[in-house]
Subunit: 304 residues, 2 copies
């Protein structure tokens, strides 16, 4: 023992060292909650930067080496890569090592786990920190990224309660507000509040840019348009991955929206003044309530 | 003359004293460009406030009195009321008095003028300052509201060039960047960049709020959703008016969007990864160009 405090987590391996994985490492290290953070990834330059910045303690390019002796393995790669990671990890992990992730979609990973393991491993606790930044990469990592942000964990009936409790504790230590949710519910809600708005913003900007008067159109756009389309400046590859990973829930939310848009279109076409005004008024009321909720609460920054 | 400087505009009548009309009055008065500003409206309290704040010099509740001796009559009422104003003004005005307006849609007013006058009066110069604020009413009026903002004038072949020139001068004095545009082009462009985004934002929020898990859904929304839906907190009556006034152009832009959304939906459904990524990448590029343009240019605030 010789004076060294016992940390809550001995060794954590972060697979994919970007903003989220890096910030988790920073948060846990700043709380003295982890003995050692090991980074793994394909881009050695990023990993070396991670060590130089003190985000991680060391890195390995070999996956077997990277996860050796880890209490927790955090899959922090892009969404679609996370499925591959599960596959690569399957033969390497023992039942004691906890596995978690940070991807924006959970159902595809749960299905991948079922396919790969033949069941849902008791030590797999899927999670989604709803936090982010306009900046990417390990250089943007910061210890307070998750403070007062929600982290949604999606345990199943097969999840070991002790494993769930440990992962919840890990996120609580970052200052996050951790809650549990069913996988399908998570994916349906995030499809509505995050994935659908991104699809709508990308679609609108692309549709207008494709018009004859494309550039001209933007010349006369103002502040409202800027805010409305801000999320269309997000990373296209990331949102492409999310859209495909959450395909079914996203298609449902697109259909829900398209049905409502057709209804509003009709109200405008037939000049149904009362219906149109009612829709706009209901929306304003709901949006004002949401803005209040957000102002008083968490999740003030950008997702995914 | 006795020492009084000759102002560029002798008397201007503002019909409907809100944020836009009030700010125009402030801007012209602060430049010493107008002899007298007379306010007219239905709400005497607002008009009295306008005098107390120095926004206008005096007010009348009687329209005939209000426009007497005015060089310029500015219709600054809500969009759908502007058509009525034209009708009320028709028998009262001589050919020397210039008429202009500030509404967000121009085609409906042009059609109203044709119907009311039997032709487009040479002294009618329709205009649209693309400026606004989250605050409404005469108390929010400020002299610099239009500085570096675009004002679009929509003259027709029947417009007197001297009248156009005077109205252009009036707006130039406010610090605005004044340009001319065909009425149909104005309405089509604004439908795409302003009216459609508002319809989409209202529709999305209303669709989600109507879900079983309505309130719950918003609990897990984050910064991206907040920005995307900010315009759904705009005045429902104003946007209802605009939607109906610009019906045809707005329906076209809704159809353009819906067609593109169906295309994106299909790419997600059949997992056409390349098509989806291309759309998102094109959109991000266009949005980044637009953001740069906006940062370097005008129209930094809220429309309409």
């Amino acid at each position: 023992m010789s004076g060294a405090a016992v940390t809550e987590f001995g060794r954590i391996a972060i697979l994919g060292l970007g903003l989220i994985g890096g910030s988790l490492a920073c948060a846990l290290k700043s709380r003295g909650a982890v003995g050692e953070v090991v980074g793994w990834g394909h881009r050695e330059a990023s990993l070396r930067q991670g060590v130089e910045l003190g985000v991680i303690d060391r890195y390995c390019l070999d996956l077997v080496e990277a996860i050796k002796g880890a209490d927790v393995v955090v899959i922090a790669t892009p969404t679609l890569v996370a499925e591959d990671m599960l596959e690569q990890l399957a033969p390497l992990l023992d039942a004691k090592t906890l596995i978690t992730d940070v991807a924006s979609v959970k159902g595809n990973l749960l299905r991948a786990a079922q396919r790969i393991f033949g069941h849902i491993p008791a030590n797999l606790v899927l999670g989604h920190p709803i936090a982010g930044s306009e900046k990417n990469g390990v250089t943007a990592a910061k210890a307070d990224l998750f403070v007062k942000h929600r982290v949604i964990l999606t345990p199943t009936t097969q999840t070991d309660p002790a494993a769930l409790s440990r992962i919840r504790r890990m996120w609580t230590l970052t200052g996050a507000d951790v809650i549990d949710m069913a996988v399908d519910e998570h994916d349906a809600i995030l499809a509505c509040t995050s994935h659908l708005p991104h699809v709508l913003a990308y679609t609108l900007v692309d549709a207008l840019a494709g018009q004859q008067s494309g550039t001209d159109i933007f010349r006369f756009a103002a502040g409202g348009f800027r805010d409305f389309t801000r999320i269309a400046s997000s990373d296209p590859k990331m949102w492409h991955d999310i859209a495909l990973a959450n395909r079914d829930a996203l298609l449902s939310s697109i259909d829900l929206f398209a049905t409502d848009l057709a209804r509003v279109r009709k109200a405008i076409a037939v000049q149904d003044s009362a219906a149109l005004l009612q829709t706009f008024q209901r929306a304003k009321h709901a949006r004002d309530v949401f803005a209040l909720m957000l102002a008083q609460n968490t999740n003030k920054d950008l997702e995914p």
